[in-house]
């Protein structure tokens, strides 16, 4: 089971990331302990030179983790044909107890990696390394998450047994089941839809505000995080029903299948990217008062706000098209 190309690629990507992160940890600790731009010591100058090498390597590591999430989900969906009872990625992830924790760790790593990349980009644009301590402190926090993600992936992939009869998405996302998915599926469609549109449009508007004003990063981050959760709830609660044209099929993973024209990718890609940009805007906002970042942070907030707002609008557009094209009548009037 381990010798699936996607699994091998994922494990190599995550293991390489963990190794490179582990190799960077001593340097990060040194930066936190003794970085002093006023000093012209050999040690300081060596750190200044090395920080570019380390942050370039880490940029590749984190960029690989953005792609790894896509690969993880794609792989989970593709492997569903190998397990009895699995209809989509849910069945594959349910083969053992580590599937969903591994997915959640990968999602966490995705957002941490994107935030670090945004922080690094801002830091690299200023001549005096204003965020060097922040980004290396964050690195120390990310490294254990990456190690956890690798551990969960290993436990999950090594524990995949073809003779296990797994459960399909209906058991997890059925309206009557006592799980988080079941609770979301049981939400009444009309209030859920109203909440979904209100929250996602608010996030898009917060993105627009940041794009126009070059501030409001914290508001955008809060709106993006809320919209992310509301969007996931909306997908389970009613968008999936319209997509499958079935009043009881709430699975957010079946949307990724070719039978449904891979609509899930069109929904999730802008949602994840918009949320990542929004969270990144929130992380850099507090540094707008740093002298060398006074013009850079607003500039970056404008581009992140525009990107995040556009992604949320794109997500809403795809969701609306799914609803408009569907033959399912979920609500009267």
């Amino acid at each position: 089971m381990l010798f699936q190309p996607a699994i091998i690629a994922l494990l190599i990507a995550t293991a390489t990331s963990v190794l490179l992160l582990a190799a960077s940890v001593p340097f990060a600790a040194r930066v936190l302990a003794s970085w002093d731009l006023a000093s012209g010591s050999e040690r300081q100058l060596r750190m200044e030179r090395r920080t570019y090498l380390v942050s370039t390597i880490l940029s590749f590591v984190f960029a690989s983790q953005l792609v790894a999430l896509l690969l993880f989900i794609f792989n989970a969906d593709r492997m569903s044909v190998l397990f009895v009872g699995a209809m989509c990625a849910v069945g594959t992830l349910n083969v053992n107890a580590w599937g969903f924790p591994a997915l959640l760790a990968q999602i966490g790593l995705f957002f941490l990696a994107s935030t670090w990349l945004i922080l690094n980009r801002v830091d690299n644009q200023a001549p005096d390394y204003p965020l060097v301590r922040v980004k290396y402190a964050m690195l120390l926090a990310i490294a254990p998450v990456a190690a956890l993600a690798l551990g969960l992936q290993l436990a999950y992939f090594l524990g995949l047994k073809a003779d296990v009869i797994t459960s399909c998405c209906g058991s997890l996302f059925g309206g009557g089941t006592e799980t988080l998915g079941g609770d979301l599926a049981g939400l009444p469609p009309k209030p859920a839809m109203l909440g979904f549109y209100a929250v996602t449009l608010t996030a898009a508007a917060a993105g627009g505000w940041a794009a126009l004003r070059g501030r409001g990063g914290l508001l955008l981050a809060a709106a993006s995080a809320t919209a992310f959760l509301a969007a996931l709830a909306g997908i389970v609660s009613f968008i999936s029903l319209y997509a499958y044209e079935h009043p009881h099929h709430h699975c957010p993973f079946c949307l990724l299948k070719p039978e449904y024209d891979f609509q899930g990718y069109a929904l999730y890609a802008p949602l994840f990217l918009g949320t990542a940009a929004g969270l990144g805007a929130g992380v850099i906002q507090p540094f707008a008062r740093v002298p060398s970042l006074r013009s850079l942070v607003p500039q970056r907030l404008r581009s992140l706000g525009a990107f995040s707002g556009a992604m949320f609008l794109l997500f809403l557009a795809f969701a609306s098209v799914i609803i408009a094209r569907s033959n399912l009548v979920l609500m009267d009037g």
């Binding site: 731009l37 012209g40 050999e42 100058l45 030179r49 690299n124 001549p127």
Partner: protein
């Protein structure tokens, strides 16, 4: 204008042949003056010049240009500073053979994206100022040593730098051409340029155009 603090520079650091070319240099170079670094071969003159001009980095110490620390700047910031602030005249001139004098002069300005007509006009003006207008279309290998040096000076000035750096500028010139170079130095100083050069040529070191001479030996300042 340029302040160096505790500058040390090692080559092959950590190896058997480790060599410290500079051993703790503290100097301030005044703006709009001509400063000469004097010292015997191996004293660290050229190494110091390359550090001031952002062509190499110190192993320890800081270089400040108009109160901005430039010794720790990442390469992409340094490129811009090198391009806009410093003009270099190398000992061997380092002109590109096969290209005309005017093309050599224009070369460092291409990345700045000036309109071609304006750039060409600027290059012609510089060549005329250095009495090379009639040789502008000649390939550089056809020029005499003195003419080649003047092309190198014109090239150093094309981006209108505040600081002109020259490494042993008279090393390959006879007395007449060296005096001609001193005349150019005078002109640069009148234009408000800061000039920093290395030399152990008495003709240069003792010239009236030179405002300050800094002596170097074994990587240290001696006077």
């Amino acid at each position: 204008m340029i302040e160096l603090t505790g500058i040390r520079k090692a080559f092959n650091q950590g190896r058997e042949n480790e060599y410290w070319a500079l051993n703790g240099i503290d100097i301030a170079i005044d703006a709009e003056k001509v400063t000469v670094l004097r010292g015997p071969s191996g004293s660290g003159k050229t190494t110091l010049l390359t550090i001031v001009g952002c062509l190499s980095r110190p192993t320890a110490g800081r270089v400040r240009l108009k109160d901005q620390d430039i010794s720790g700047l990442p390469e992409r910031f340094l490129t811009e500073i090198r391009r806009q602030t410093f003009g270099f005249v190398f000992q061997q001139f380092n002109l590109v053979r096969g290209l005309a004098a005017i093309d050599n002069v224009m070369l460092p300005a291409y990345p700045c994206g000036l309109p071609h007509g304006e750039l060409r006009g600027r290059a012609e003006e510089l060549l005329a100022m250095l009495r090379l207008g009639h040789r502008r279309d000649s390939r550089v290998e056809w020029l005499s040593g003195g003419e080649q040096q003047r092309v190198a000076i014109a090239r150093a000035l094309i981006n209108r730098p505040q600081v002109v750096i020259a490494d042993e500028p008279t090393a390959n010139l006879d007395t007449a051409l060296s005096r001609e170079f001193l005349g150019i130095l005078e002109m640069l100083r009148e234009q408000g340029k800061t000039v920093l050069l290395t030399s152990h040529d008495p003709l240069v070191v003792e010239a009236s155009v030179v405002d300050r001479v800094i002596g170097l030996r074994d990587g240290r300042i001696i006077d």
